[in-house]
Point group: C2
Chain length 211, copies 2
DNA sequence: CTGTAATGTGAATAAACATTCACATTACAG
DNA sequence: CTGTAATGTGAATGTTTATTCACATTACAG
């Protein structure tokens, strides 16, 4: 009865539907029925386009890796000072998460970490690539005198940890605070941390009780 | 046939068994059968001591919160400079995770975040308390001139993010690197970040390829 | 037109799992 | 001693879920 679509299109629709479902119900709530409903097709039809649930997760991992890493790599390769690039990458990452709650859920999920060793290795690889991209920007910034002499790799991890932990708190509180604003505060403080000499210091308040 | 134990003891055994199971198979692999086997009792007997799986998770949340938070609060209230306290808290936290892989798995788990709103709120509260404990130590350190003028709350989040992100990478790579050593490197770099004036700078190498 | 490969569906199938039940056995208060 | 409440168990029960099957329908090459 319903019109047909070629599998290339269907695969994209299914992956996007899966990302949405994860954003709302988590990887745990990602059932075939849920995906099929969101993508507007029957459960059985999912299997025309994917071998099984694991393959959907694999495709989703590739998509997310590309979305996050691709954006960062593009910024890193572009124009600007090292600190400018870092800031843009940092805030863009936060914005991407704010727009796609499924993203951190997927990254944190142990169904991913433990469920499929191959997928886990893929994601770990993408993470390592991300760390290296940031490390290179930081190293360049140090050489240019924009940052004090730090360990690029550990500083990159520090930066990613800020995002990751914030995403975790944002996820567990179900979006109880503004992620972009929080990222802005963290970045401002990071600036204070890395500054090579004394510079204008913004006044800090504590706009959030806790959490 | 088997000897009996009072429920107070049984509850502890069950919670510890659950923590071990999570460390090996994740929250996803935490089944009643698995817990019962580990604790050396029948499935049905679990229900003599807990109303259900959710209650076990709740008790585990309390236990973990107490273990992590309690240790940090104790150190914070003790003797020493602010930076010394921060270092001990930081490294102790890493060591605790290294000894109990189930700990980060539990904290990251969305079965927890999304499964039981009450438990999620409890954990978010403990996290907020942890952030505040660290913030107070940092604020004291700033006042004492041990750190530069930073935002205590954002700096605390930065510190926790370092641990959290490292635990995540450690978890996804299934313990492919030495967590304590990595924590040591991150702490050294954090020292460089927060130092109020120039001080002896350790030589950095990169002992890990990536990840 | 025509047949055939791709796409689509509702109805099984089978496995995993939390929970309950009916029935022992232990510990201990009196 | 004795009975009773707490602790223990193997065997159901019912639900959720991924996956498969037999059977349409569409699109399109020839």
């Amino acid at each position: 009865m319903p019109p047909k679509k070629i599998t290339h299109i269907r695969r994209e629709e299914i992956v996007q539907a899966a990302l949405q479902v994860i954003g709302e119900k988590g990887v745990h709530g990602l059932t075939i029925t849920e995906i099929a409903g969101r993508a507007g097709m029957s459960d059985a039809n999912i299997y025309r386009h994917f071998k099984g649930k694991q393959e959907i997760l694999g495709a989703l991992g590739d998509f997310i890796g590309e979305a996050v890493m691709g954006k960062a790599a593009g910024i890193a390769a572009g124009k600007g000072t090292a600190m400018e690039k870092l800031k843009v990458i940092f805030l863009a990452h936060a914005a991407l998460i704010a727009a796609n709650p499924g993203l951190p859920r997927f990254m944190f999920s142990e169904e991913i970490h433990l469920g499929d060793p191959h997928l886990a290795k893929t994601i770990a690889g993408k993470m390592a690539g991300y760390i290296e991209t940031l490390s290179n920007v930081i190293a360049a910034g140090i050489k240019a005198g924009e940052l004090r002499p730090l360990s690029p790799r550990e500083t990159a991890i520090t930066l990613l940890g800020m995002i990751q932990f914030t995403a975790l708190r944002w996820s567990i509180t179900r979006g109880a605070f503004n992620l972009d604003a929080e990222a802005g505060r963290l970045w401002d403080n990071f600036l204070q941390l890395t500054q090579t000499s004394s510079s204008p210091m913004p006044a800090y308040s504590n706009p959030m009780g806790s959490v």
